[in-house]
């Protein structure tokens, strides 16, 4: 396995131009500028690099969607890393900001883009300060800004700090936020590649995706595509946290068994406990259990397993944990972060949170699990953006996979609250038909 992004990552001063250049920095930019922008674009296409932000869309194709011609086009680097469990971009920006800047410039060149922004979440103050200093350095050195490396190209790069809203990680919410509005997602189509920031064609990519670009140019697309699997090329940073011995970021080659990450790299749950469930791609991915540990860690295999690679953040919970507690945290989080624009997400996340609270206070019956599952189905696919689905999918998977445990929790909470065994469902005066899920397509 190879290290691309984390090569030299802990080298002191890698965040400065001097050290970065000493380690071969900005060679890729010079190389790219010596090629035509179409050549750079075909390198990106051929590399098979898929977006590392969550959706996994091919980066080169995204660039190729940008219209040609004389117009203001924008590149926005999505550094609003807010998906619970994800912290890889933080490490990249803090330790190797110039790699990101170089990647941004190459991508801008490939897409004939004249202005770039980095939207960084407001909480990342240290990383933003470091990036700002790196941008100033790169500008002084002629890598960004006016007349880049004497080529006459102008690409100003501005760092924009957010102010705390998960939804701004959604690309169109991010655009609204960058335009100085509330970070509400927009309707798609039009897709940002056609009409994005300030109504101009806009390329939006994640920090890790863009940071990978210099390596691709340096080693050549063909070489890069050899790493990983056929449809998931390259290396991927995996943030692993929760009940593991060594939480942190690991750079892996896509396609290795998940067990190797959780147990091999991160050391597995402490004190020899077993994995109970795990999120393979951030908190919005449907959970897997210990039975799924041998699923290869790549985009397609995880999709086949009914979940997703997402942002590449693994959260592990061991057998000492209750599913209910995590589900409650999750629902509370998404209800809090729902922007409120569309109905199913706004009302569905809140309702789900209230139902879970009711389970905890002993006011629920097993029937509520059916309603909860049905509510999740009512959210999925009906929302404006993916935030609603991001709650509904994991919650739905938890109810499905841990139903008996949740029923036991309901019963236990009722007993705790009432000091008596549960009343019959019918005794509550709720007819049976209310319990059934709504018809699904």
């Amino acid at each position: 396995m190879r290290t691309i992004l984390f090569e030299n990552i802990d080298e002191p001063g890698l965040n400065t131009l001097e050290v970065y250049e000493r380690r071969g920095g900005y060679r890729a930019l010079r190389k790219a500028l010596s090629m035509s922008s179409d050549e750079v674009l075909s390198e990106l296409m051929d590399s098979g690099l898929r977006g590392r932000g969550g959706a996994g869309f091919q980066m080169g194709r995204k660039v190729s969607f940008l219209p040609h011609g004389d117009m203001e086009k924008y590149l926005v680097c999505n550094a609003d890393e807010s998906e619970p469990g994800t912290f890889k971009d933080r490490e990249l920006m803090q330790k190797s900001p110039h790699m990101l800047i170089e990647g941004i410039m190459i991508a801008a060149y490939a897409g004939e883009i004249g202005r770039a922004f980095i939207y960084i979440r407001g909480e990342y103050q240290l990383q933003a300060d470091i990036l700002e200093a790196a941008i100033a350095e790169a500008e002084r050195a002629g890598y960004i800004g006016q007349d880049i490396l004497g080529t006459g190209l102008n690409v100003p790069l501005v760092l924009h700090r957010g102010a705390g809203a998960y939804i701004c990680g959604e690309e169109t919410g991010l655009l609204d936020s960058l335009e100085g509005k509330r970070g509400n997602p927009r309707l798609k189509p039009p897709f940002p590649a056609i009409e994005g920031l300030y109504h101009g064609p806009t390329l939006i990519n994640n920090v890790e995706t863009l940071s990978t670009v210099p390596a691709i140019i340096n080693m050549g697309a063909a070489e890069y595509a050899k790493i990983g699997t056929e449809t998931s090329t390259g290396t991927k940073l995996v943030s692993i946290s929760g009940d593991v011995k060594r939480p942190g970021n690991y750079e892996i080659e896509l396609g290795i068994p998940s067990r190797e990450i959780i147990y091999g790299l991160a050391g597995g749950p402490p004190s020899g406990r077993e994995v109970k469930f795990w999120f393979p791609g951030g908190s919005s991915s449907p959970v897997l259990t210990r039975d799924d540990l041998d699923v290869p860690y790549d985009f397609d295999s995880l999709a086949k397993a009914g979940t997703m690679l997402g942002s590449g953040a693994i959260i592990v919970a061991d057998e000492s944990r209750r599913v209910l507690d995590t589900a409650l945290k999750l629902a509370k989080f998404y209800a809090h972060e729902s922007c409120g624009k569309c109905v199913p997400c706004r009302e569905g996340t809140r309702w789900t949170h209230k139902m879970l609270e009711r389970i905890c206070t002993g006011e629920a019956t097993p029937m509520d699990l059916d309603i909860m599952a049905s509510v999740q189905e009512q959210i999925i696919g009906n929302c404006l953006c993916v935030l609603g689905d991001a709650m509904a999918m994991p919650i739905g998977s938890m109810v499905k996979k841990f139903r008996s445990e949740l029923e036991a929790d309901i019963e236990a909470a009722r007993v705790r609250a009432e000091g008596a065994p549960a009343a019959d469902v019918v005794a509550l005066g709720v007819a049976d038909e209310f319990a059934g899920p709504l018809p699904v397509h």
């Binding site: 001063g13 050290v19 619970p84 202005r115 103050q125 300060d129 939480p247 942190g248 690991y250």
Partner: protein, 261 residues
Amino acid sequence: MTGGRDSVPRFEHGSRVPGWDEAVDLTKDPAVVPDPATTPVPAELRAEIEAAMAKYPDRRSAAIPALHAAQAVHGYCSPAAIDQVATVMRLTPAYLTSVATFYDMLETAPRPPHDDIFVCTNISCSLLGADELFDAMIRAAGTDETLHVRSFECLGACDIAPMASVNGEYIGPLEPADAERIVDDLRAGRPVLPEKQIRYRRSVDPGAGTSHAAGERATEFGVPAATPRADTAGLDPADAAADRPGPAAPLEYPAEENEDA
């Protein structure tokens, strides 16, 4: 805002949003774009906002930076602060209110200038004891108005879970016992828990995939105990408080740490 010691008041029917139950004050004039002739703005704040506006093709993009700047001056996005931003940005105050109330880091509840202590209570941190940490933090801060303890959604540092962000400085992994120390450090104007600041933390396994040997260094959870303090941000922990980033000038590792690395 996910609650906290002094989060917005809760209503008996379950909303915590004070505005819901409020009528407008009919004696006020409509809030149009304030006239610079009648709304004075501190010169420094004006300059900061104008500089932010100059960075974007559309001045409204500067709304968040401008509100941040005003919040730093006023302690929170008070109506007066918003009026001042609106004057410089030539927007209605309502536009800015709408933005300010959307984002967690922009405060609209009255508050004096304060230290921010965000305790992450999302999934990874709470698995490892964030809720107890948050309670301890609340207790440690007591009734001090200048310490603003909030439970926060995932701050993006699950590798040091459970963690907190103190005035933007990420520290972790924390134990409830660290709460007192955080408060003491803040009151004394010292860097907060420098040995737990993320800026000094190594990647857990830089050679992941090539060598699993790094795993040997791990303690039960969190940061490997043997990991040296690698100041990858380019700052020596000793003068971390002096000026935070300043990464333009690389600092050499102290000799003995270099060897270790």
